[in-house]
Symmetry: C2
Subunit: 348 residues, 2 copies
């Protein structure tokens, strides 16, 4: 316990200026309603005293008395360490930070949230959620039960990334994966590909769901469009599988898997995109050493962060129109890994 010399309070100011604490508060908040009047000389005296003492309002007390704090909570579901996805989430935070700065809000990072069963929990004994006016939720998979509870409690929040309803619509700022994957699939078909495959990460998140939806949209035009999991299989086994099926283009959820696949192909003397086109569906979660530019798309992460703050502030001050759901377009990357299929293989 630091024996802090008790901080200066409004009461101290009041005593020094010879007024009441209420007057100090009124002066501080610049109140000038019809039924609140402070004589200019009184106001000056109070302000002068404040100046002299270096008084600053206690934000805690202010928050308790009023209702707002201008603090935005940030909850990251992935445990920060030793997860390798830090680099993936950093851009979101940059966007969040930038917009928070613009609107004059502070950010509260809930680093104290304990990890239970491999994931963080918002709600736990002694959670500090309510210190913030509202919060942002980051993470690949967000517990639906916790979203339910946030909805039930009426606590303002916005998810970064689209989320399914959870006891009501969930406000979010997401990336339009479906549209992006749809566009890429269309492009592949345009190149003449007819045998498509989709390599999934095998997670149940909405982000994966949306990508698969985008992939499935063109199902009719393809001769074959199957989905196979990455999990637990090495790139060579997957490559065998693809070749056996005469697949000419593969859409890969996990960037790292695409890199591994290309490497495996190259080792086998196959060329990308000559023998196999590879399309990535997002950004890498870890820095990957590859000299290739993969065809795919970028997730507008910073912009998502910015807009998430924007939506959250509108939810907090009640000015939100509708539920507050936004999907931002992804930026397509031309890249070098999508080409026309090898005619010899394509004729089947």
């Amino acid at each position: 316990m630091p024996s802090s010399p008790r901080r200066v309070t409004q009461r101290d100011i009041a005593r020094l200026a010879g007024v009441s604490q209420a007057t100090v508060s009124l002066v501080l908040n610049n109140r000038s309603d019809a039924d609140v009047r402070i004589a200019p000389e009184t106001r000056d005296r109070v302000l002068r005293t404040i100046e002299e003492t270096g008084y600053a309002a206690d934000p805690v007390a202010r928050r308790l008395a009023a209702r707002f704090n201008r603090i935005i909570g940030v909850f990251t579901y992935e445990p920060a360490f030793p997860s390798g996805s830090r680099d993936f989430f950093h851009p979101f935070l940059l966007g969040i930070e930038e917009y928070a700065e613009r609107v004059g809000c502070d950010l509260l990072l809930f680093t104290s949230a304990p990890v239970v069963d491999g994931r963080r929990r918002i709600f736990h004994q002694d959670n500090r959620l309510r210190l913030a006016d509202g919060c942002l939720l980051l993470g690949r998979e967000i517990d639906a039960a916790e979203l339910h509870r946030l909805n039930r409690d009426g606590f303002p929040y916005v998810a970064v990334g689209r989320r399914n309803d959870a006891g009501g619509p969930v406000p979010y700022v997401g990336a339009d994966y479906a549209a992006a994957v749809d566009a890429l699939t269309g492009r592949a078909l345009g190149h003449g590909h007819r045998r498509l495959a989709y390599l999934s990460m095998g997670i149940h998140a909405e982000s994966s769901e949306d990508r698969r939806r985008g992939f499935a949209a063109h199902g009719g035009a393809a001769e074959s469009a199957r989905e196979l999991p990455t999990a637990g299989r090495d790139a060579d086994a997957i490559l065998d599988d693809l070749r056996a099926d005469r697949t000419t283009v593969v859409f890969v959820e996990d960037f790292a898997a695409a890199v591994a696949l290309e490497l495996a192909a190259r080792r086998r003397g196959l060329t990308v995109p000559g023998d196999l086109s590879v399309v990535t569906l997002g950004d890498p979660t870890v820095p990957l050493p590859t000299d290739l530019t993969f065809t795919g798309f970028h997730i507008p992460r910073e912009e998502m962060g910015r807009q998430a703050v924007e939506v959250l502030t509108s939810v907090i001050d009640g000015s939100a129109d509708g539920v507050g759901q936004r999907l931002l377009p992804c930026q397509l990357v031309e890249g070098d890994t999508l080409g026309a299929p090898d005619p010899a293989v394509d004729r089947s």
Copy 2:
């Protein structure tokens, strides 16, 4: 204003469980002092009610009543945008985040601090410093006046990076630049260098001061050890200067300046370290594309972040021994840019 359905309070719990609010508080805090006793069945009843209602203590009220919050403020002096030094500060934040998570603290990023005269200010109308139990200060140059005020107010803080006294000793976790530069200077002398130069960034920060001190330590052994500024001069002009003076090794504060210098030398047909040795004195602030590994040192940024939190928590709970000042060793990088001086030039 969100018409939040009034949150559940201790009073509600008390009413439901048929006890007083004080009892609820006592149960929640697991108080079991000699003069506070709660019957097991009462305790259970209260806990059950808490469970059922999903009650969570309001951290704001808790903070107002008690003194601690388990929130660590983080104040970054460099304005986040559009400064190019984000990448430099990121590792500090990673370390801070990691340790905060370990000790169960949340982090409050003071993104709301306004920028006045090109730098951020901690103290401004309506500052929220006191929401945190203490704070960490990050930035190349920290305003001494604000340190004074923190000291005067007795507000717990720790600077990341060594700081000179400001109305009292300043608690810090810094990097031992002096020792690192000293070691590198010694190494250069060992290689036979006698004509040394120091390229400074021309800032008055302690970090620069310490490096120069390390450089000056070996002054006697050198034939020439002069200091010249980088600011406003292009690499070619600097190179001219160095050559004119028959300098054989140059110590460069700013990593980017070292990269530029080496490039200028190469364009002129000179080799590094053949014709000129270049030693860097820290990490780059922006990603720099160079295939060279410069001789120099790394700043233990993550570790500084971690230890800063450690020191701050000990300052907050009063268990700090002494002022709380730590200097961590820098990690020397062997690199390829320090060699023996060209004998033809060296003989003078």
